[in-house]
């Protein structure tokens, strides 16, 4: 069940590992969840939606929170301030 992997291409001495569900697809899913949805945004866009309906796309040139943080804002006390365009 356990599959521990060696270093990624540029991993150097900081080894990447995988436990349980293994395979390229799983690793790719975790990668995309992070790289595409999270992290600091210095420019980009945000979608304003209500009840899962996307309403407005706003272009930005500022530092914002990740989309997942915006959606979770109500549950995280320090993230209660919604970003502005």
């Amino acid at each position: 069940m356990e599959d521990e992997r060696g270093a990624l291409e540029a991993g150097g001495d900081f080894e990447f590992w995988q436990v349980g569900e293994s395979g390229e697809q799983t690793q790719l899913s975790d990668l995309l969840n992070r790289v595409l949805d999270r992290g600091v945004v210095l420019t980009g866009h945000v979608t304003i939606s209500i009840a899962d309906v996307d309403l407005v796309h706003v272009g930005l040139s500022a530092v914002l929170t990740s989309a997942s943080r915006i959606r979770r804002g109500r549950r995280v006390p320090e993230q209660t301030e919604a970003p502005e365009a």
Binding site: A10, Q18, T26, R34, D37, R38, V40, G44, L60, R72
Partner: protein
């Protein structure tokens, strides 16, 4: 155009000379004291399917020497003057976020979709509403169940890792199905975390897998623009 990868302290080691970013462009450092950003030049041609991997590979190279603030994959600015201007405007907030994740890495824990998400009944629409109202009520119900599912998954992982030096936990719906719970851990604590998760996975419960360590993508959000 400038493709951004991560923010670091200016005193941290620069990228290796042979490190290539998106489009096989060399990765460089641009300093906006006391911070620095790793970047590469980028033309306006379309994105490549491998770009997310390349982005992560560059951020991971930074992680080898010091924990960075990872930028999201599509962080592109016009030129270095714009980078300087935006980073200067948020210098204190960036430095604060960098300090919060210093010496830390992220571990991804995958949790099966909680029962609550699949089985809880949707709230019924109040009488008198048309199809539009029914749709909005149903959407709100789905959203509520999803949020409850995230909280349940977060609690499950928090409980499973009790006693370990966990700094923060956040859950989000995963592109691969189920819930992706991100755990912020001190670098020297990841061995114990991995062992504990491996044990939890072997029990055959709702925690089905884990990958790591990742740069702290899930723990660098900002409260909002200035």
């Amino acid at each position: 155009m400038i493709q951004l990868y991560c923010v670091r302290r200016s005193a941290d080691p620069p990228p290796p000379d042979d490190l290539l970013g998106i489009g096989r462009r060399p990765v460089r450092v641009h300093r906006v004291e006391p911070l620095a950003v790793w970047y590469s030049e980028r033309d306006r041609s379309g994105a490549g399917a491998d770009d997310p991997r390349v982005h992560d590979r560059v951020v991971r190279a930074a992680l080898n020497t010091a924990t960075p603030l990872p930028c999201r994959h599509d962080s592109v600015l016009g030129d270095l003057d714009e980078v300087t201007r935006i980073m200067s405007a948020r210098r204190d907030a960036l430095a604060d976020r960098l300090a919060r994740v210093e010496g830390c890495v992220e571990v991804a824990v995958r949790v099966r979709p909680p029962e609550i998400e699949r089985s809880a009944p949707a709230p019924e629409a109040a009488g008198g509403g048309g199809p539009g109202r029914e749709y909005m009520v149903a959407a709100r119900g789905r959203r509520r169940r999803r949020e409850e599912g995230l909280v349940a998954a977060e609690d499950l992982v928090r409980s499973g890792l009790r006693g370990l030096p966990i700094l923060d936990i956040v859950a989000a719906a995963s592109r691969g199905g189920g819930v992706d719970v991100a755990v912020l851990v001190q670098r020297d604590g990841i061995g114990a975390v991995r062992e504990r998760i491996a044990g939890l996975v072997r029990t055959g419960g709702a925690i089905v897998g884990s990958t790591g360590p990742w740069p702290p993508y899930s723990f660098v959000a900002f409260p909002g623009p200035p």
